[in-house]
Amino acid sequence: MARFDYLEPHSVDEALQMLAEHGDKTRLVAGSTDFLVRWRTGVWRPESVVCMQHVPGLDYINWNPDDGLSIGAMASVQDIELNTEVRSRYPALAAGATSFAGVQVRNLATVAGNICNASPAGDTLPALLAYNAQCRIIGPSGERSLPLDELFVGPGRTALAAGEILTEIRLPPPAPNTGGLYIKHSPRGAMDISAVGVASVVSLNDDGTCASARIALGSVAPTPLRAYGAEGRLVSQTPDAANIAEAARLASQSCNPIADVRSGADYRREMVRVLTERTLQHGVATAGDTPSFDDIRRLAVQTAW
């Protein structure tokens, strides 16, 4: 329990300055949900924190048909869960948000924090990957944009340079006839770290074949990852049971899980197969529909189908 000072910027520029000034002795905090737990367990011992809570104008979630969805750095996971555009257009992300902790933590935790924390088990991450999220990053040397896929470099490690801040996450507008789902597999229905999480987003052509399929896996490798091989297996194919099963098999081969208190590695791999199959099936079945949130919520955390 090392003491730290509290610094409070009131603009992104001021935050950048503070980060620059204190370097690696300070840490940016947003919702502080990861931060406080890690600080108490002694993993993080900064001399100060730069708290983003009072930087105005970062808690937005905007949608428009041209640019898609943009999520400000201070938008909370609960904001995502409640957002009607997210629920109807990005159901896998809504599922990721609703499967996340309890409402008291969701009200605090930010999506940006979930990304920057870069845990392979981050529940919004597979869906964000499956929706091709782009990150807007501001740092001492200006602004840049990076696909989310390239942001994760290892457990807890991102491609953010020292002093950089993730300011916005953008999801392109979904193609017509798209469906998706995220399923969090864990022993308990809530307040649990996922043992495996799979998000699938499928877009269908008019003839029913797959225009695109994006599958992202959580908790089964050092970072959340896309199952490109499995995705490729589906494109231009009819997403029938056999093809989906084959894609699911490929997905389970593409990951590299570890064993821990939650599950063994083989079981995790098998769960990737099962959940990939289920999320794909659901995505195909609901492509173009607006799923009910009650269904999304139930499916996201269902402990037994």
């Binding site: 022993p187 079981y267 099962v274 037994a304």
Partner: protein
């Protein structure tokens, strides 16, 4: 069967006497005690599971500004204590640590942050000693000794083998012959996991020294007198120099029955002369205070083709960790379950290992036994092709049978609970694929132990009730209801006194299903004595014989002439100048007769064939409660107990590192207790066959609800998908493995144990 007695207070819902304080946040728990000048205490955990302490350097910690005192094991008198007769531990180790997490030093400082900084500055040099973590290995030849000097410990007696702390046995009949005569022999090995009690309030304590030098302890405890005795022993001071004030208790479930860490702030307070507060972190709760440890159960039955069980053999290995923190395990008698089995041999071994010591939790060990016995019952049923319900009914204990302990089984509602369950779940029933039903029968007894109560009549005709038991799960409300019923006054006229060990008469711990049954009997008797004294006084004042008087509705009256009488208030006033003086009724008792408690439970589950995960769709329990003192509270107890059992069945799993024995999942994020969305609606049937003893016929209620779920759910999983998982929890991973046919039985060398006893 229901009671015919007409009650005025009992059998009706009463909000808890402390409800208002609790919903407003005003109830004061130990961690809510803030005293002027109070210091904060922090602890240093051992990082080794078996090591000699070569040195502890506290100089840097002591020199830190704001640090007031640092203590280590050698600051305490050189005295061992224990939870039972066997004194196997120091309050803080002096020379040797026995598990990872064992506190080896404590600091008092001006605030928590400083105390923690000081803790981080303490340097301990350890020298490792060979250790053993697996209890089966610990029983074997050549295993490292957890307590090499065990034989020299006070209270050592019943041990066998260098790591076996206790061996309990129960035998009846000719077991070998009965097995030879049996048509079928069924044999299983079950294993249940480590379980944390999961109380929400971390252990907490504030120690203060009064100007007179007396030690005052504000504690989170189920046993204030036990803390007093424990402190007196380890600090070598008389009990009369200690006052323990039990604060509101935020859950204990057995974990707060005895001395835990109170001695650390106590000694620090004595050294500094200032109040010292210790509030454990959740991680400390998981790594320092004894949970239940894994249990392995070998069980074998000889059965006739008609379903009669003629023989039972059970060998149970209780891992007790570093110390016998829970006393000798009580699971032994439960090896035959709620059944009449004429020939049995039951053994239970408590085996030391270098991991956190075992603690108590809701009828310690019985849930483990019930999982084994009730899973085994279904296995027997399948082996002989009999319905699992019929098998239970056929063998169930009846009135007049002899229990394991030799006591005659008094009248009870066991059969009624079974019948109620059968009807409610509609057994047997064909379900859709992946769905299944399972049963379990649970047995327990009402607890006894020293119980006392005093009732005094107030000026306004209300009464004050004083007992020494701390409130657990609404017991104060139930005791008030018993007093009100016995005195013939409304609940609102009973004031339950807040108490401490100076003020209240000595009482046993609040645990083991004893408060309402034993303590309640004391309250009932104290109330009866109060009534007698009121009647005697009224007789004197009214000039009529005592037997002409009745007592009802807060008034003593002449039975032939009801308007003539005196209210309690009038009698209280009169008592001031009476020969007998102010009216107090008291009662003390120690042991109560054997009163069994039975419950039948049924689960309906769905098994996900893809993930192996099990979802409980319905869970029904029928329990013989005798009389429902406060139905709302009784049902609340049953609701809560079953949910603990469902957690035990499916998600809770205290894991230990196989090499170091360290707790691998010391947080609520990794030790998974059920949440609201994991659970079905509660379905409870109260069966009421009044107990021959116990207040107004009430039986204990708290423990059995938690026993049944592991077996009922395992049996339902078998019914659903045809696989039997013999190891808890029934995780998706285990069930899926079983579905895929790669689930191994648990190895168990029963021959070695039989041989050790000379049984061939």
């Amino acid at each position: 069967m229901t009671t015919t007695t007409q009650f005025k207070v009992l059998e009706q819902n009463h909000p808890r006497v402390d409800a208002y304080e609790k919903v407003t946040g005003r109830a004061t728990y130990a961690s809510d005690v803030y005293l002027p000048g109070m210091l904060a205490c922090k602890l240093l955990p051992s990082t080794r599971n078996h090591a000699r302490i070569v040195s502890i350097d506290t100089s840097a910690a002591a020199a830190l500004p704001g640090v007031r005192c640092v203590i280590t094991g050698t600051d305490f008198p050189d005295i061992r204590f224990g939870s039972g007769a066997l004194r196997d531990r120091y309050v803080m180790p002096r020379e040797v640590v026995n598990f990872v997490g064992e506190p080896v030093a404590a600091v008092a400082a001006d605030d928590e942050a400083t105390a923690q900084e000081a803790i981080d500055l303490i340097k301990v040099e350890y020298e490792d000693i060979p250790s053993v973590v697996n209890p089966l290995a610990a029983m074997g030849e050549g295993a490292a000794s957890v307590h090499p000097d065990l034989e020299s410990y006070e209270g050592y007696g019943f041990t066998l083998g260098h790591n076996v702390s206790t061996l309990l046995d129960a035998d009846r009949g000719d077991v070998e012959q009965a097995f030879r005569d049996a048509d079928v022999v069924v044999e299983d090995v079950y294993r249940s996991q480590g379980i944390n009690q999961g109380f929400l309030e971390p252990m907490a304590c504030v120690a203060d020294v009064e100007p007179s030098g007396r030690l005052v302890i504000y504690a989170s405890t189920q046993g204030p007198y036990q803390i007093r005795a424990g402190l007196a022993a380890v600090l070598e001071i008389p009990v009369s120099r200690i006052r323990v004030v039990p604060m509101e208790l935020g859950g204990g479930f057995g974990a707060k029955l005895r001395l835990a860490f109170e001695a650390f702030p106590a000694l620090l307070a004595m050294r500094t002369g200032r109040p010292v507060k210790l509030v454990n972190t959740r991680e400390e709760v998981f790594t320092m205070n004894g949970p239940r440890l894994p249990v392995t159960n070998y069980i074998r039955s000889g059965v006739m083709n008609d379903g009669t069980i003629v023989a039972r053999e059970a060998y149970t290995i209780f891992d007790v960790g570093a110390y016998l923190g829970a006393g000798p395990n009580s699971g032994i008698g439960h090896g035959i379950g709620a059944y009449r089995i004429p020939n049995f041999r039951l053994r239970s071994y408590g085996v030391y290992t270098n991991k956190i010591y075992v603690g108590s939790y809701r009828a310690s060990g019985v849930a483990d036994m019930t999982f084994a016995v009730e899973s085994h019952m279904d296995h027997i049923a399948h082996q002989i092709g009999m319905d699992a319900y019929d098998l239970r009914l056929h063998n169930a204990l009846r009135e007049g049978d002899v229990s394991v302990s030799g006591a005659v089984v008094p009248s009870n509602g066991l059969i009624e609970t079974l019948e109620a369950i059968k009807e409610k779940i509609d057994w047997p029933r064909q379900l859709e694929d992946g769905h299944g039903l399972g049963l379990a029968l649970c047995e327990w007894r009402s607890g006894s132990g020293p119980s006392t109560a005093a009732i005094s009549v107030n000026d306004d005709g209300t009464v004050s009730l004083l007992t020494g038991s701390t409130d657990i799960s609404g017991s104060d409300t139930s005791l008030a209801a018993i007093a009100a019923e016995a005195l013939g006054i409304p609940m609102g006229s009973v004031v339950v006194a807040k108490r401490d060990t100076d003020m209240a008469p000595y009482t046993g711990q609040s645990g083991g299903s004893r408060v309402v049954y034993s303590q309640g009997t004391a309250v009932q008797r104290a109330a009866e004595e109060t009534v007698q004294k009121l009647i005697a006084l009224a007789a004197e004042r009214l000039g009529v014989p005592e037997d002409a008087l009745g007592c009802e509705d807060g008034r003593v009256y002449v039975m032939d002439n009801e308007p003539q009488g005196l209210t309690f208030a009038q009698l209280a006033a009169a008592s001031i100048t009476s020969r007998g003086g102010p009216i107090i009724g008291t009662a003390s008792l120690s042991s109560m007769p054997y009163t069994p408690v039975f419950a039948a439970q049924a689960a309906e589950v769905k098994v996900d064939r893809g993930t192996g995960q099990v979802k409980v769709l319905r869970y029904i329990q029928a329990q013989d409660v005798g009389v429902a003192i406060n139905p709302m509270a009784v049902e609340g107890q049953l609701d809560g107990g079953v949910v603990q059992g469902i957690g035990r069945a499916l998600t809770e799993d205290q894991q230990f590192d196989p090499d170091t024995g360290a707790v691998r999942n010391p947080s609520f994020a990794s030790y998974l207790m059920p949440l609201a969305i994991d659970l079905p609606e509660s379905e409870v049937v109260l069966i009421k066959v009044p107990a021959e003893d116990g207040p107004f016929g009430a039986r204990a209620v708290a423990e059995p609800p938690g026993f049944g779920p592991p077996a009922a759910i395992a049996n339902a999983v078998y019914d659903a998908v045809g696989v039997r998982v013999k190891q808890l929890p029934l995780s998706g991973e285990r069930v899926l493995a079983a579905l895929n046919g790669d689930y191994d039985d648990i190895p168990f060398d029963v021959e070695a144990l039989r041989l050790a006893e000379g049984i061939i």
